[in-house]
Amino acid sequence: MDKLHSLRPVLSVGGLSVSFFQHTVIHNVTMDVPKGGIAVIVGRSGSGKTTLLRAINRLNEEMPGCRTEGQVNLLLDGESVAVYPGRGERSIPVAELRRRVGMVFQTPQVFPVSVYRNLAMPLSVAMGCPRSELDDRVQDALRQADLWNEVSDRLEMPAERLSGGQQQRLCLARALALRPDMLLLDEPTASLDVRAARHVEELLMSLSERLSVIMVSHGLAQSLRLASFLAVMESGTLVRTLDEVAGMEEKDLEKMFEGAQMHP
């Protein structure tokens, strides 16, 4: 890959504002997320992290009263794609966008069907994947999410019976099965115990070598462990971005929060 190419940001947000029923939740956010590693968005609860993340795959539109302004550009498969295209720009169908940008939620959102169907249904219904390929792709995705060994003999079991950590990895597998170019993760370990959380973290680290990962985190320690790029949100605005967190400690980050509060 040439130098110029690798310098292009995987995610570039310009003047993004999101409001629900005239109440502005995200104010004029502008940032470029470089390629490689995990980009982490931190901030207090209610600071608009989830909304910012959902602006990337247009999921805010599923909520009533939403209005989005500004630009979001993604680098998908080496090609720049405008999520909110202006006049004359090439647009991408929203279903395709969401397939190519997988998402995992704060609490595991498994579909109320079997483990197998959880992965096979989006593949066959949303993507039109031929039946003959389903088994291979399901198995492949479950392996990537390090879940295959645990569920290979229980594929017919209702997914709701898996443990919380397994459910979250199933959701990860469901996103991976669609072979996305980018993963969006909204506090993926918030509802898990420490061991399950570490397991997911390790998975994300290894996945980030192959695809772009953008993650909202609730913990400073976790952010420092995982982030290669850090964005700090406060009351709907972006207060800081950091391209380097090596050597930083939690208290340095905390200071940044306090600083943001002093100068709103």
């Binding site: 999921l59 599923e62 397939r99 939620f105 069907v113 169907r117 219904v125 949303a126 469901r174």
Partner: protein, 294 residues
């Protein structure tokens, strides 16, 4: 911890109310079965006609309940065939697709229809036949199809309302997760939301079946008679258990006939249970197919 007196009273009252329902169910069912089961048998169903001849319609049944059973069965099945799709369709539209204004107007219409007394629905069917006779169809007469149509109108709001509630109960988080997986709205509706709401919709079907099986007022005006034999077709007169019960209890001349009424009531209960079991089996097999591998 010490509870206050009002709280204790409240506890007592709610406990009493909770116990009241199962008690009444047991008393009712017990009484019905106690009186109905002893008369149950070949005699009650087929009178003096050989059962096989009666079942295959080779010989008429004079003083048995078999024709009424068949009549009620077909009445309910026809009603559900007519009402199931429009009812659930209306509910889905209300929950998923309607604009706020449409929700208001359509919702009001559904509520109004739900509040309509069944006797009015029967009268409506009767007037329809009169109208047809005076205009395009001089030979039009009341019959099974008309009765099922009017009953369908009666259960339509039940189905629509319960479908709407079941769809509204599909959690927002599931909707978001489906959208995030790249499902279009209609794909998500057919493959995820509808199956997830199937149990609630079945609840509405149960109510509708019960309502169609027990209603007497509608069929009174639309083609039920006391002695029609097996239904002669979609446009023929028919017998029905609910009407038989009503008829017997108002006209009985001896204890034996009254007992027939109890037998009919127990049979009606049985037929309702049978139809519900069929509905539940269908839902169960559908659910397994949806949740399973294939």
């Amino acid at each position: 911890m010490k509870h206050s007196i009002p709280f204790l009273c409240f506890r007592l009252l709610t406990g009493f109310s909770a116990a009241l329902v199962p008690t009444m169910v047991c008393v009712l069912m017990g009484y019905l079965l106690m009186r109905g089961v002893p008369v149950m048998g070949k005699e009650l169903l087929f009178g003096s006609t050989p059962p096989l001849d009666a079942v295959f319609g080779r010989a008429p049944v004079w003083d048995g309940l078999w024709p009424a059973c068949v009549g009620t069965f077909w009445l309910v099945v026809l009603t559900m065939l007519l009402a199931l799709f429009p009812g659930t369709g209306c509910g889905i539209f209300l929950a998923e697709l309607a604009s706020p204004l449409q929700k208001k107007i359509l919702g009001a219409a559904v509520d109004m229809l739900a509040g309509m007394p069944s006797i009015v629905m029967g009268l409506f069917g009767f007037m329809l036949i009169l109208l047809l006779r005076h205009t395009i169809l001089p030979d039009a007469n009341t019959g099974l199809l008309l009765a099922a149509g009017c009953l369908a109108l009666l259960v339509l709001p039940v189905l629509a309302a319960s479908t709407r509630e079941a769809m509204n109960a599909v959690p927002r988080s599931l909707r978001l997760a489906a959208a995030a997986s790249g499902f279009s709205r209609s794909q998500a509706l057919f493959h995820l939301f509808l199956p997830a709401a199937a149990k609630g919709i079945l609840g509405g079907v149960v109510l509708a079946v019960g309502r169609a099986a027990e209603d007497t007022a509608v069929i009174l005006f639309t083609g039920v008679v006391a002695n029609a034999g097996l239904p002669a077709g979609l446009f023929g007169k028919f017998e029905a258990l609910s009407f038989d019960i009503y008829y017997v209890s108002s006209q009985y001349q001896n204890q034996q006939e009254l007992l027939h009424g109890f037998g009919a009531a127990a049979l009606l209960l049985g037929i309702s249970c049978l139809l519900l079991a069929i509905a539940r089996l269908l839902e169960g097999s559908f659910r397994r197919k949806w949740q399973g591998k294939a």
